[in-house]
Symmetry: C2
Subunit: 448 residues, 2 copies
């Protein structure tokens, strides 16, 4: 139920309508931007209403922008009914309709580094934003938005959007207020440093600036958050994790890493989650994460004090997080900073903090090129996402992957990758279940 | 003649010796670092003496590190006589012996982004530095080095070197003092922003910190600086330049670039030089360059006020620059800031300032991958140099190249490049003599 704790300006109540009514505001040819990142914290009701309308009536064709990949309600449903004709900057392998439409050419898709997407819009390189749909915990008296569990590129999209539809998700705890840190970099030629000096630094506001005049609709939203499941770590993943921890220890002994490591970034997926679980079962303490998506495993670690602070652009789709936040909001607001995706992934900050980047690759070749997105070079299965931001700018950049796939039938270490997302110049170490390949200071031939 | 204006501590005179004597200090198995970047400002006498000694006596085998490529005396002569067994991070297509030895596998070569090289050494990733050879205009009373016409990675190498040999180049004007800006970033986890807010900001000292106790030899050096020649712009290059300027004008009209543009980076070579000449014959005024190597054409422009300020890591090998510096030192120290290569190419600063990156490619494919270094995928002809630093982090990243090579027999736009240095995610616009391909917001298929 939407009440005054959620809508803090009386005039906002006049704008409440159903998702179906709001969806009618999205018309043919529009560039529509979505707030949020991953399936949590992105708008759900209006996109689903738009998909229903498109099936039953004339189907508007839109360009869909977001910060990174968003939920299946937005991407996959709209792709299925043919609403999307242009899409950036990322999607997910699991979104079957979206991937099919991209690979068939029905959707013109361009994949940018997550740290570049918002600034491309801010610079005016991708045209005007006709409509922004954004999920909110609450709206301030001035019409500004307190986001929910993710941010994505919403702050810059809100700066440029002609109209804004807000989905107020009443299942999200009001205690989320204060966890966000909204900061928009200035534009060149007069631009100051991003003033983040430590992982947990707060440099902005707790709301996204929208203002009363551009809010066109408010829709109540109560969807249950999806819960992402990761496979239990198998023997192979556990071996990868063990090699990684041994490698960290030897770097500490050699004086190349501090005792408490440096802020960690970790990609998403079963392997990464297994690696993370291995890491947190180790004796490392007071770990810091400077990452784009907080992994589910990290929430337990905040509870038992293993993790000191997490900077990210999205909380995991895990109800335990919101439960714990409700119980002890002060602690969680101290331990977690939710940032816009162009800040969580900013090269300047990643390099300054000395982030250790941990990502998974599909295949790596003997020259050191890595492919993370395309099977056989042309079939898109994944987005480059933030991996380029972190691998290029990390203090240490590490790929983790099993050495084979398809039950050992296909080697992932090949003579030449079929698509290149990371060049040989961009990363340092490869860890498989077989061991550690430390490529720092090695030539092509030695790497091979 | 070395005098007190060059050696400002009396004890330094006791260390003067010949290049042959100093070269004997370089022994088998050493990691030797060279100051400087390109053929100007790098040490010449001691490397040539080492090459002579290696031909006549037992040949030491060394690892040679520098900031970027250095002069032929260092790289190519030492490669010819077999002194170098390991080399990073860059070399030049013109260095026949070096390229042959790399392609045959006699030299283990690793190519890093220029902005990464110094920090790899600072982090201890490439092992200890046994010896640094550096060219100086003068040495301060405390034993610190005032460099000559380039810097490279010398400041961080000087921090780590066990011993230092200094070549004092008495042909370089003392007026160079004050043109350099030496700054070493802190190491994570406690690191502050690089405090460069404008192209010409000075943030460091005018000398490289060495100290009396590590100086092992001082060698007088009087080599004449080489003069690089670029071909006169041909019709094709002029057309590329015209398309570029038209593109800038249309970006200004669209409000996506300020009237006086943004700081420019320009790669090195005939095409880039032609593009630059075209640009400076246009009506743009008070241009700024934030680049790694100052192009010869830029010096004329400082004279007639077309260029306001240049930040770079190397002056062009052009005697007019030093002549003009001698005549009007204050003006040139105001117009030029010589920085370490990891600062001239730093992602943080490039992105903050909104640099427009202009680079040449060997070939570009229909997916947007670009190859700048390898002909046919395996034969190394060039280094990635700073192009990755600038293309990835630029406000606008533009490749310029003729659409064909070998007298129109071979197209440079191919279905798949044989080696990838820049991925599709990293750049925006391709300009050939045929026109402008603006890839912002286009999908793979549309790019093709």
């Amino acid at each position: 139920m939407i009440d005054k704790t959620r809508l803090r300006n009386g005039r906002l109540f006049d704008l409440i309508m159903s998702g179906d009514e709001a969806a009618k505001m999205i018309t043919n040819g529009m560039t529509v931007a979505c707030g949020g990142f991953t399936s949590t914290g992105c708008p759900k009701v209006v996109p689903l209403a738009l998909a229903r309308a498109a099936e039953n009536a004339s189907c508007p064709k839109i360009t869909l922008l977001s910060g990174g990949s968003v939920g299946p309600e937005v991407e996959d449903e709209l792709a299925r009914v043919g609403v999307i004709v242009r899409r950036a900057p990322g999607t997910r392998a699991a979104y079957r309709h979206m991937i099919e439409a991209i690979n068939s050419g029905d959707i013109a898709y361009y994949d940018y580094h997550f740290s570049h997407m918002a600034q491309m819009v801010d610079y005016g390189f991708l045209g005007p934003i006709d409509m922004l749909i954004i999920e909110a915990t609450a709206i301030t008296p001035d019409g500004h938005v307190i986001p929910t569990t993710s941010i994505g590129a919403a702050p810059i999209y809100a700066r440029h959007a002609k109209k804004v539809i807000i989905e107020v998700n009443t299942t999200q705890p009001l205690e989320l207020e204060g966890i966000h840190d909204i900061y928009i970099p200035e534009r060149p030629p007069r631009r100051n440093p991003i003033p983040i000096y430590r992982t947990g630094d707060r440099i902005g506001t707790s709301h996204i600036e929208v203002g009363m005049e551009r809010i066109n609709a408010i829709v109540e939203s109560e969807p249950v958050e999806p819960l992402s499941k990761f496979a239990e770590p198998n023997e192979e993943s556990k071996r990868i994790a063990k090699h990684l921890i041994d490698f960290f220890r030897s770097e500490i002994r050699a004086g190349r890493l501090p005792q408490k490591l440096l802020p960690l970034q970790s990609g998403v997926g079963n392997i990464s989650n297994a690696v993370l679980t291995g890491l947190v079962n180790s004796d490392f303490k007071r770990l810091e994460f400077f990452t784009e998506l907080m992994q589910p495993a990290v929430t337990d670690l905040i509870e038992d004090g293993k993790v000191k602070v997490v900077s990210c652009s999205a909380l995991p789709p895990d109800p335990r997080v919101t439960e714990r936040l409700r119980k002890d909001p002060e602690r969680y607001r101290d331990s977690i900073v939710l940032r816009p995706l162009d800040i969580s992934n900013h090269p300047e900050v990643i390099r300054r903090l000395g982030v250790i980047a941990l990502n998974a690759a599909l295949e790596v070749d003997i020259y050191g090129h890595a492919n993370c997105t395309h099977i056989m070079g042309t079939r898109m299965v994944n987005t480059i996402g933030g991996s380029g931001d972190f691998m290029r700018n990390g203090y240490l950049s590490i790929f983790t992957m099993p050495s084979t796939t398809k039950n050992d039938a296909i080697s992932r270490i090949v003579s030449m990758v079929s698509h290149v997302d990371h060049t040989e110049h961009d990363w340092h170490v490869l860890i498989t279940e077989q061991g550690v390949a430390d490529l720092r200071g090695l030539s092509h031939r030695e790497r091979a």
